[in-house]
């Protein structure tokens, strides 16, 4: 699949801080690409360089094989993490304002329908809820019918319901053959939306692939969870390593049948046994050594 945007040997040096350290990246057309990483990993700087907002110290960014130019501004859609809007304007006026900044645009009615904005069209943008505001910002990012859309932590601060509603919108946008570059702190969001992810740490990509590929690559085993009772001593005697996780003890094993048999034979109570699959959160901690932000 051809890449719509690529970066080669990207470096961004701030005074005393190397934010991006020789990063290479190629994003295929039509996918949702997730850029993940702990705070300070360099993902915002990277995405701003890809957006053309920030200039790299060295390295190149190519859009459809050519350096970023005036055409890029017309063809890219961006939803920043923190965006203020012109005050005292309604949703309708804000959409109309941005529409007039581009040569080629979608019909406003299409954007309104796509982002479910019809109920709030005449509302002052300062009076929108978090979810409504994010829908409007997504609408603004889509107004020029972009091929490539950047969504920078679009659901941060939203309640779970609003977040899931937003995911549905992103899936709808993706179904229109758009390429989406998403940064997020929510691993379940990345898992739900992204076809491919890259995990950054210290200015570099430390792991990249489809979520399933990465999980298979990093975890060849499963996790058994048993209640935290008096089992720990017995398990220690058996030489089985356990990890405390809330009210449960977790046992990692690549030999599920053998381990279960061992537990049964030694009288471990398995009434509330659970088998947990590895998640992107586990992967994130595994490759960066850090927990995701709450």
């Amino acid at each position: 699949m051809s890449s719509i945007i690529s970066a080669a040997n990207l470096v961004k040096q701030y005074p005393g801080v190397l934010a991006v350290d020789g990063l290479n990246l190629a994003i295929s057309k039509g996918i949702c690409f997730g850029l993940l990483g702990p705070n300070g990993a360099g993902k915002t700087t990277t995405i701003e360089i890809l957006e053309g907002i920030n200039k790299p110290t060295s390295g190149t960014v190519l859009y459809k094989g050519a350096p970023l130019g005036a055409r890029y501004r017309e063809e890219v859609g961006i939803q920043f993490q923190h965006t203020a809007l012109q005050e005292f304007l309604t949703v309708r006026e804000t959409l109309a304002f941005f529409e007039r900044l581009y040569h080629k645009t979608l019909q406003l009615s299409e954007v309104i329908e796509l982002c479910s904005l019809s109920d709030i069209l005449d509302r002052d943008t300062r009076k929108l809820s978090g979810g409504q505001r994010q829908r409007l910002l997504l609408g603004l990012a889509l107004i020029n019918d972009p091929e490539l859309i950047f969504l920078d932590e679009p659901t941060t601060g939203l309640d779970p319901q609003a977040r899931r509603n937003f995911w549905d919108l992103v899936k709808l946008v993706k179904s229109r053959n758009k390429t989406i570059v998403l940064t997020t702190h929510y691993m379940e969001e990345a898992y739900a939306l992204c076809d491919e992810i890259a995990i950054m740490d210290k200015g570099r990509i430390v792991s990249q692939g489809t979520p399933a590929q990465l999980l298979a690559e990093h975890f060849g085993d499963v996790v058994l969870q048993i209640p935290y009772t008096d089992s720990e001593e017995k398990l220690n005697v058996l030489g089985i390593q356990v990890v405390h996780s809330g009210d449960f003890l977790e046992i990692r094993t690549s030999r599920l049948h053998h381990t279960l048999q061992q537990l049964i034979e030694n009288g471990i109570n398995l009434d509330q046994l659970r088998i947990r699959a590895w998640t992107l959160e586990d992967l994130f901690i595994n490759v960066t050594g850090k927990k995701t932000a709450p």
């Binding site: 907002i53 920043f80 304007l89 006026e93 304002f97 007039r100 900044l101």
Partner: protein
């Protein structure tokens, strides 16, 4: 053009719907004009200016008590008619001619002239003959109005544009616009035109409203007045843009704007004439657009000056607008 009009419209809507800011922009100049015109609070200065024709060195001999009175500044004048004009236009509080029999001129509407007349009676008795200022005297409020309007334009332009751009930068709106095909010059020019239209609208409303009650003296052309004030406002907006071209700190921008406004207020002749001030102070005042705007406005309104007579001020204001705006656009950063 489409992008420019989009930004212009959005900014106008923002301003007009911000009722508290709009009310303040309208109310402040009204309050200033009425308050200062009727209470003469501008008379708080403690030095009264007296022009002396006929040799200032002779004053001690002709009027020793007056000469030794504190808080009076004596300014030598060669040309009697020029001195009378200064009294007429409130640029001088009193003119004394001691080349022959002592005579003095005061503007009968000047509160300072009124006080000085009583001082001269008290110090020198009836030895000085009162002379009438020929032609229509300029009322204090007529002298004062151009200064008030000029200051209102200055505040509205400097803070209205400077703070708005800094706020846009600080809250990320400029970053969002940077991600669109909108150019920096289109954005800045729209801000300039928006503020210019609104300031001129507000100024016209204030002028018209005050004129209903006070009936200002207007000797010259309203078109000339409009041109001078438009150029004056443009130059102030350009300064506001230059100050806001890079900073994202409202505190810093506020400090710089205050550093700009205070010298302009004090030295532009808005509150009091610089007659008798040191030469370098007068030269320093010339670098401020407010000085030229007020000077040309007073000339048009009070003396009936034509456009050609105020052309030096017009050229200076136009040049300041273009040069400062160009520098502001050049150094402008979205973030």
């Amino acid at each position: 053009m489409r992008k420019f009009l989009a930004v212009l419209h959005a900014r106008n809507m923002e301003f007009l719907r911000d009722r508290s800011a709009l009310a303040w922009n309208l109310a402040m100049p009204f309050l200033l004009v009425f308050g200062l015109a009727f209470t003469f609070s501008g008379g708080g200065k403690d030095i009264y200016k007296i022009g002396i024709v006929g040799g200032i060195d002779k004053l001690a001999a002709v009027a020793p008590k007056l000469q030794s009175t504190q808080h009076l500044a004596f300014i030598p004048y060669e040309d009697l008619n020029k001195g009378i004009d200064k009294v007429k236009h409130h640029q001088m509080d009193m003119l004394i001619d001691i080349s022959g029999a002592p005579k003095y001129w005061v503007n009968s509407t000047s509160p300072n002239g009124y006080l000085l007349e009583r001082i001269i009676w008290g110090t020198e008795g009836n030895g000085f003959e009162r002379q009438a200022v020929e032609g229509a005297e300029i009322r204090y409020v007529d002298w004062f109005l151009p200064g008030i309007l000029g200051m209102n334009i200055m505040f509205a332009c400097l803070f209205g544009v400077g703070f708005v751009i800094v706020r846009y930068r600080k809250n990320g709106f400029l970053k969002r616009l940077k991600a669109t095909p909108l150019g920096a010059f289109q954005f800045l020019f729209a801000q300039l035109v928006s503020r210019l239209l609104l300031v001129m609208l507000v100024t016209t409303i204030v002028y018209t409203g005050c004129n209903i009650f006070i009936k200002f003296n207007m000797q010259g052309s309203y078109w000339d007045l409009l041109l001078v004030n438009t150029l004056g406002a443009m130059s102030m907006i350009s300064i506001g843009m230059l100050i806001a071209a890079r900073t994202a700190s409202e505190e810093f921008a506020g400090g710089i704007l205050n550093v700009m406004t205070w010298p302009m207020m004090l030295l532009s002749g808005a509150w009091f004439s610089l007659e008798g001030a040191k030469t370098w102070v007068k030269y320093a005042a010339e670098i401020f657009p407010l000085t030229h705007m007020i000077s040309a406005t007073r000339a048009i309104m009070n003396e009936g000056a034509t456009l050609s007579q105020v052309m030096p001020d017009v050229w200076i204001l136009a040049a300041m607008s273009v040069v400062i705006l160009a520098i502001g656009a050049y150094v402008f950063k979205w973030e």
